[in-house]
Amino acid sequence: MAKLTIDGVEVEVPDGTSILNAARQIGGALVPPAMCYYSSLKETGGKCRVCLVKVAQGSTKDPRPMPKLVASCRTPVGDGMVVQNLTSPEVLEARKGVVEFLLLNHPLDCPICDQAGECDLQNLAYEHGASTTRYEGERRTFEKIDIGDKIKLHMTRCILCYRCTYVADQLTNERVHGVIGRGDRAEISTYIQKAVDNDFSGNMIDVCPVGALTDRTFRFKSRVWFTDPKDAHRNCTKCSGKVVLWMKGDEVLRVTARKDQYGEVKEYICNECRFEHKKVSDWTVEGPRHIDRHSVIAQNHYEKIDLQKLKKEVERQLEFQRGKQLPENEIHS
């Protein structure tokens, strides 16, 4: 086990845990954002750089600070490690830079994007970005591609987090898509626009943090915030059958897997559940789905992150730690 502090808050986690996951153990405001890491997909992370943190002390044994900011999602903790996230101006400055980079070539077509309202990039930009852009260049664009009859690839919105390629590697039995080209010309592509038909390929839609991969059976049907999400399940031989139905009245507009508070799917679903069962009678409805993600539009907070407020929150957590135990609902607010 390793004991470390993140922004002064203490936490103990098994050796080998990443700083990000240690922060998630604590929960709340001091959890670094993550755009490419995905806990249920091996080898993800390290690429987007929004989760950068400062390691002010490596460990008790080797107290030297790490020379550069590190990607918290892929850096293992050390016993006695001192991590700074919100308490480091350097980290906040670098993160602001990363958000600016991520938005540089992004079309910002949220008004016509199916992902709007549940988009990690939108959330990130509101919380950590600057409100104006200094970039005046042309943005890169790509033609939209249909990957089979169920999935639409709108590469122009892609932030190259590589998550979908790991889905292809790890969940489907035959990989037919990946990254071609390099630099800012790199693109997600299928091998000569081959249809991705595989029982689990639909999961790439759920792991995509932006609107680059969308469900063709749902495209333009409704804004997500006008739909009514319900937990439901059915007996399925291929997957757990545990899903969220996105309803409008009695109509099932969309079926997705269930995401946790960090926007991550822990139980992937098969394409049959996702695409073929759009009748309520196909499902046992469990009840309304609580969307605990602090999505921009879900919560109506169109403002930038308020540092003073965040610091207060962290201080409050610290006080709790010194005195009382943190109540469960405080941890995952």
Binding site: V98, F101, V179, G183
Partner: protein, 435 residues
Amino acid sequence: MGRKLLLEHIDVPGIETFEVYRKKGGYASVEKALKTMTPDAVTDEVKRSGMRGRGGAGFPTGMKWSFLDRKSTKPRYMVCNADESEPGTFKDRYLMEKIPHLLIEGMITSSYALGANTSFIYIRGEYMYVLQILEKAIDEAYAKGFLGKNILGTDFSLDLYVHPGAGAYICGEETALLESLEGKRGNPRLKPPFPAIAGLYASPTVVNNVETIAAVVPIVNMGGDEYAKIGIGKSTGTKLISASGHINKPGVYEIELGLPVEEFIFSEEYCGGVWKDRRLKAVVAGGSSVPILPTELILTTAKGEPRLMSYESLSDGGFATGTMLGSGGFIVMDETTDIVKNLYTFARFYHHESCGQCSPCREGTGWMEKILHRLHHGHGKKEDIDILVDVAKKIEGNTICPLGDAAAWPVASAVRHFRKEFEEAVVQESLLVNG
């Protein structure tokens, strides 16, 4: 005349053949190592030599070798980095083309020291003709019993392969190189683990530059202590310098580390002075990735001491007033050089070569190129210079691999030392608009 350890026989006719190379004392290090030394003893000599890697970062080679995981039950690999794509650097090509057996000899001796029985030379795709030269030399070495099973009757066996890249600078970064060698897309890996623990096929691997491996030959022949006497301070031995730009005698020179920069540029033995009787304006001393320095700072340090061709002297003053020896790509610019244009050229290169994996480098390199394009063509805005510096700052240190830094450093240094030229690039535009 400085001592030549690598290029001594470079002009001997037929030196590219096994026969002539052997007559000139070639493959002596293999005989000495395999027959009279243990692998650890060879590593020890390299450690004692103090030689630092010649690929750019200058990491002590002996130390790198000692990190190799010798307890692992997996096979170990020795990989030669011959991807040489840094603008201004062409020494490895010269060496491989002219005296291929020197590299092969170094590969055998080094592989023996590391206990590697399969080794690779990863060569940049554009060097296809050099690949053919190497393969011919390798065939000869096999035929003469220096490669293959039971070399020189010992129980050491080695197979050596040459593998071409497909034209990506990033594949010179050692972990991208290993990915590419494994047949994958050449994206740098996240470290740790370092190659010494999990490199090629997740096995313990050492990656060294062509010149580093070639230098193992004289080190083993003369002994590490003798080698350490050459050079100056912690910069031991000789170094190949690719000299290019506005000089009378461009080419590859072997220098003893510690040679004054002034002597290197102006003496007849080396660059022969700035061409066309022009004045020196600036030098990029270690390949396009290192900070550019104006005349007064390349000839003397900020303290006023003569600047020497050594790792320590060139980096004296840090990035504020110093630079780096890097890969030894020495680019000289005369008084007519347009620094903004030069920087634009470099920025274009890094934008083109970014692998695109991490956001700061993928997006930032393109942004910097666009701003510099504007400045170069006289459409620059006043804010551009500060944005440029800020973008470079936001890339630096925040990426997966050092290509991000390599793209940022030239920008930061060019604006630091030649800010006036950038400001003039902006002013010109306002003249155009108003006039």
